[in-house]
Symmetry: C2
Subunit: 322 residues, 2 copies
């Protein structure tokens, strides 16, 4: 009897995370390599490199890849990604041929949602949503105990819901998308804007540096009581709650779990998001309460979920026929 290990890969904007994961969702080993920003071949090479490095230490039965983009219903191809150069790329078959292992793909927010369902904050629920707040915003949906993938595998696109039609322009062509008001990038922009306004008001505009402070530093400033950092989290949380409100009315989840890098700020993000959601939902709360929770898995949820989906893909295929 061999231990049932699988590998989960999560392709982030700056780095690729590779994890060997056991059947209980525990990470046995993890490595990262920088994400090549050049061409599809370089990213594929990096995925193979980190996987082979992990395979030098462990025997695994399958590889799952979490992708920031649209994965087709059969989990074999990347249809489109805003940040990666793939267009209808048969990535699973290409990796499988090079690694001589079964490979499945899944959208990163869906993979993280699956991890929360199996091992994280979603375990008690059959109906919940995971909203990943990283450099962009994604969502995954568990409905009736199943991952809701939709007719083409594209369900859970939350980032480009319009929260404020008068809001900032988004590269997608709309204005005031949730992505442009409540993502990690939006938090950085909001904090810098508040700081610039304060420096100008104090006659200290010479101190303006034009650089965005990383989200973790804004969270640290907020924890030490910086009023502008607290305000930035309040503003982002208000927009996030408004975007989540529509999703809650459509899906009636028992909980919304906040994951991704920005959710590592914990209560700083959860409290204003929750208050905004309550306000939007109004009297509905008397009949049905949706709880806002913070993911315990956070940055590794995508890799764990992809690994678990890969290891159970035959069963998963039975549950979710294409």
């Amino acid at each position: 009897v061999t231990a049932a290990y699988s590998i989960g890969l999560d392709i982030g904007a700056t780095k690729i995370l590779g994890c060997v994961v056991d059947s209980a969702g525990r990470i046995i080993r993890q490595e990262t390599v920088p994400t090549p920003l050049t061409d599809t071949a370089s990213i594929e090479d990096a995925l193979v490199e980190v996987t082979r490095s992990l395979l030098a230490h462990h025997v695994v039965e399958a590889v799952g890849v979490a992708v920031a983009g649209w994965v087709d219903k059969t989990r074999r191809s990347v249809l489109f990604s805003a940040h990666l150069p793939w267009r209808s790329e048969p990535l699973a078959d290409r990796l499988s041929a090079r690694l001589d292992l079964p490979v499945v793909l899944e959208n990163d927010a869906n993979a993280a949602t699956w991890a929360e369902f199996q091992f994280g904050a979603g375990k008690p629920f059959r109906d919940f949503v995971v909203v990943t707040v990283g450099s962009g915003i994604g969502a995954g949906i568990i409905a009736g105990g199943q991952l809701l993938r939709g007719a083409h595998g594209l369900a859970g696109e939350l980032g480009h819901a319009v929260v404020d039609p008068e809001g900032p322009e988004c590269p997608c062509g709309r204005r005031g998308c949730l992505d442009s008001l409540a993502s990690g990038r939006a938090l950085q922009r909001r904090f810098q804007m508040l700081r610039a306004a304060a420096l100008v008001a104090d006659g200290e505009s010479s101190l303006l540096d034009g650089n965005h402070m990383p989200g973790a530093a804004i969270a640290a400033a907020a924890r030490s009581g910086d009023p502008l950092a607290l305000q930035a989290f309040a503003d982002v949380g208000r927009a996030l709650g408004r975007g989540i409100a529509d999703l809650v009315m459509y899906l009636d989840p028992a909980a919304v779990i906040l994951g991704g890098g920005v959710a590592a700020a914990g209560e700083l993000l959860r409290v204003p998001t929750d208050a905004s959601l309550r306000q939007c939902l109004g009297t509905r709360n008397r009949s049905a309460r949706t709880h806002i929770l913070i993911s315990p898995l956070s940055a590794v949820a995508g890799a764990i979920g992809a690994a678990h989906l890969a290891s159970t893909h035959h069963q998963a295929s039975d549950l979710h026929p294409a």
Copy 2:
């Protein structure tokens, strides 16, 4: 062997429709009584009256009731209705005791969605949405071949999604809800407003009567080429497409089926809704196409769906544990 008939009741704003339905979803007999607008006891009496009248002709195994309101997860109680006086009313048990038959409740949009899935335009799909455009707007969701009911049974609330934050005030407290821009009432208001503006422009404001023309009459006017009636459908369709766009991004359905009274206008509603949806979704259509269809069941879908849910409730309970 007895024929497997069941009764479906649909409580509308003006009338209660009662149907005896066979196991293939065909209506064997139907009757209507006016909806009492006074108190809960009178509505309950009317439901019993129409059911007993149908029972005088047919033996049935169960009764399903489609309710314009929130039905709890167990399908026993009406939690809330905007138009009916029930608040946490154990309607199923009360009717069951009086009729000596099993009774189940379901939200009217969910019941209509179930009918489309079993017998209507949803038969070819495992992932689709029904948007009912009547005096108000409701939605029902089939995801992965199951009715998506949510954690508390309240999934599918589409009417109060905000489409235009600068739009008209809604009784729900928000502005520019889909309900206030794309329902049957919104169509009537829009047509009257366009007509009033045209009469004033022509110096014929003395002809203003202040009465809303029924939706069917506006549809007839549009079919005979009335430019204002065509414009009213174009405006309602544009708002409807915008509201549906978010739902499509979240759920990725293969189709959105338009039902309810206003959808009886067919292409008059479908064409502008489809054009608006395409515009909102932009390049997404290259990867995934969501079709807009018109319900073939229309006004009787709620009653047929409620009847079928009642007849198969034990199996349905297995599929959708509370």
